[in-house]
Amino acid sequence: MKNLFNKLGERLNRVSSMKLTLLAVLSALIVGAFIIVISDVDNLRDGDILGAVSTVGSAYWALVVGSFGSLRAISNTINSSTPLILCGVSVAIAFKAGLFNIGATGQMLAGGMTALWVGFAMDGPGYVQVPLAILAGAIGGAVFGAIPGILKARTGAHEVITTIMLNNMAAFFILWLLKTDLFQREDRTDPISKLVSAEGRLPRLFGFIDGRADLIAHIGFIVALCAVFVYWWFLKKTTTGFEFRAYGLNGDAATYAGMHVKRLTVLSMMFAGGFAGLAGAAEVLGTYGYASTNFAGNIGFDAIAIALLGQSSPLGTLFAAILFGALQAGGRQMQTNSDVPIDLIIVLRALIVMFIAAPLLVKTIWRTKNATITAGQTFRGWGS
């Protein structure tokens, strides 16, 4: 009986940390509403406060409709979420081992280009070509991700610095690669790759519905869901996953317990790179069908916010990524329907992260009593 109460208590604690996350999102939406009102110059000039308030309503409604209101909207949400999930897991797994992976962008670029290269180099049926190209993407990202890991293990170079630098190196390297004969599209002078053959593209998720070319979501989403499962399984079930968690929470204790912490540093960055590499492969082979210089966009950085929001847990990261993906997809609809610019999405995301980073603020605003705050995600500071 006592045991039951304790279990219940722990469950409640976990719920309250989730509640805090939800309250943070809600707080962001409310502040966002104020921003919509005060930037609704047309209505305010006419003194039409009610009109401005109704703009908020229509903007948020458009967000919902644009992200989940139709099959097409859902497909868009899925499509935006896919790389966010994979990169979110990338950042999260590094967080778990106590490392801060800011290099998901670079790893994504590396993975995408490797996947593309394998896609070109092969001529075969899709069911052979696609898995191999995806695998190549993971390997490419992992190799690129291992670099900051090795640098840290060998020389102590901080991964925050090295991953940022490697992002730039990857970006310029790809600029050069896309100008080589191997990659550059024949009739183009700008850095853009050849198209992946139809066989090499990731099959569309809703391909079974005829005549709906607008449903762009691809099976990269399945890959992403598998990645979340693998991440969960790895953390919970494997010895190395246990080592990651111990090392991330207390590096000294991991050393004391006989874990090979240098190996763990390299491994965790490799795994992080692998997941980001998958995101690159999914974007290149699925969403675009070719590579341009900026196919990684801002995804690697959004992933940091996602991992923070999801507290690096597998499910948390998944839902946070879907939320961000939904905002992305709904934002376009909002811009069309309600004159509220899509930039509001960036503001909303920033607000969410800010409220997540300031749990005390959220607690004060909502006057919640529960005291259990998980201090969010941590990584070892500069000294270590």
């Binding site: 246990f242 968690r245 111990a246 207390n250 204790a253 050393t255 004391y256 006989g258 874990m259």
Partner: protein, 507 residues
Amino acid sequence: MKLELRGITKSFPGVVANDNVNLELNTGEVLSLIGENGAGKSTLMSVLYGMYKPDEGEIVIDGTPLVFASPADAIAAGIGMVHQHFMLVPVFTVAENVVLGVEPTGALGKLNIDEARRMVREISDKYNLDLDPDAVIEDLPVGVQQRVEIVKVLLRDAKVVVFDEPTAVLTPREIIEFFEIVKTLVSAGRGVVFITHKLKEALNIADRIAVLRRGKVVGEADPKTATESQIAEMMVGRPVQLTVEKSSAQAGDVVLKVTDLTVLDADGRTHVESVSFEVHAGEIVGIAGVQGNGQTELVEALTGLRKATSGVIALDGKDLTHSNPRERHQMGMAHIPEDRQRQGLVGGLSVAENLVLTRYHDDQFSHGVIVDWDAANAKAETLITEYDIRTPNKETGVGTLSGGNQQKVIVARELSRDLRLTIAAQPTRGVDVGSIEYIHSRIVKERDAGTAVLIVSTELEEVMALSDRLLVMYRGKVVAELDPKKVTPMEVGLYMAGSRPDSAVSA
């Protein structure tokens, strides 16, 4: 001045840290606040020092109820606190540290360092503290640093000085000097609150002893009449065994053999200098010494956490000088580390996970790369019962347990397998009386089972009570090998301080 705490209640989610606590203190007396870890001593003092706001109750000074919103209010009301961990800037001088925050300034806010020096000298002379205002903190021994903290408090005109576990970091000699200072403070009309878990010291210095248990004052004791075991019983709530019960050692073969071990750090400083000793099966060898004389580095070298610069470490005749911690672990070496929160445990992981922290890779707990959590959890259940670990359940985060129970988790993990050698550093630091008793009996049991045991502790009493042979370390060298039954703590204390008493009997 008369300080009263009336009906102080402070609760945190799930625990009532202070439950209707009433205390009073007059200037000119020493009140010793004694209790186990987690009894609520620190919370109570944090309330007094303005760091926590009590849920109920009030602080009354000379009949006036006061509300402390911050330590600044408490300081203004004449309350000073000397923390266990000093709050000093290591590269500043004594005078600079003392005036930090209340600097005497001249025109345009220029620091008047001469005035600061004068103030330090004045207080130092008045209370016989013997401080040089121009000495740099990092060059000073811990005992002197503590006196700097005392000057800081006195300069802010504290009528009541609270000492939080002040003797934990001092040598026996420094402790005597510290008590002299306390007496001077009291005779100069200040009040002293002395927080400790060491019964002897409380009996020695206090005018009154208040015992705290589970957030409540369970009674006061008069040091003139009370005995150690009476107070211990009040603290724990049941009779406790204060001495270590053990038969004489049945020493067997040499298990650990250390030859000419020297350990330098990355900056080339020598921490351990050509140390040689042996530990036999079935005996407990203790290493005494003031903190910072190379014991930490010695243990780290023995357990593989630090590279030995030269020398040989052999276990059962096998050279393991260059083996890593895991290899040593697998050869039957157990290590209870000196800092359980930094090294011994991962606070964010559960009790069960911590119980396999050094063993998850054993065939017993994993198949290939997959951890067998069923086996680990079953083992955890057994160990929790066997070692009497007080935890809500095995999934509870180990960081939420009390110090004593955290230490029991480590002891359970490290001793619950076949061992050749157990190395225990500060095995009972910050652990309550009840758990100390238990941990000591476990270590003796391990010895009687034929394990070689090496105990490193700065608590002289503990290391003397447990050891069959006693080594003393001073500045990285083993300066004496003694028979703990034939020497007095004072004599060992002299070796610890680096002098060589002729009267001491060498074993």
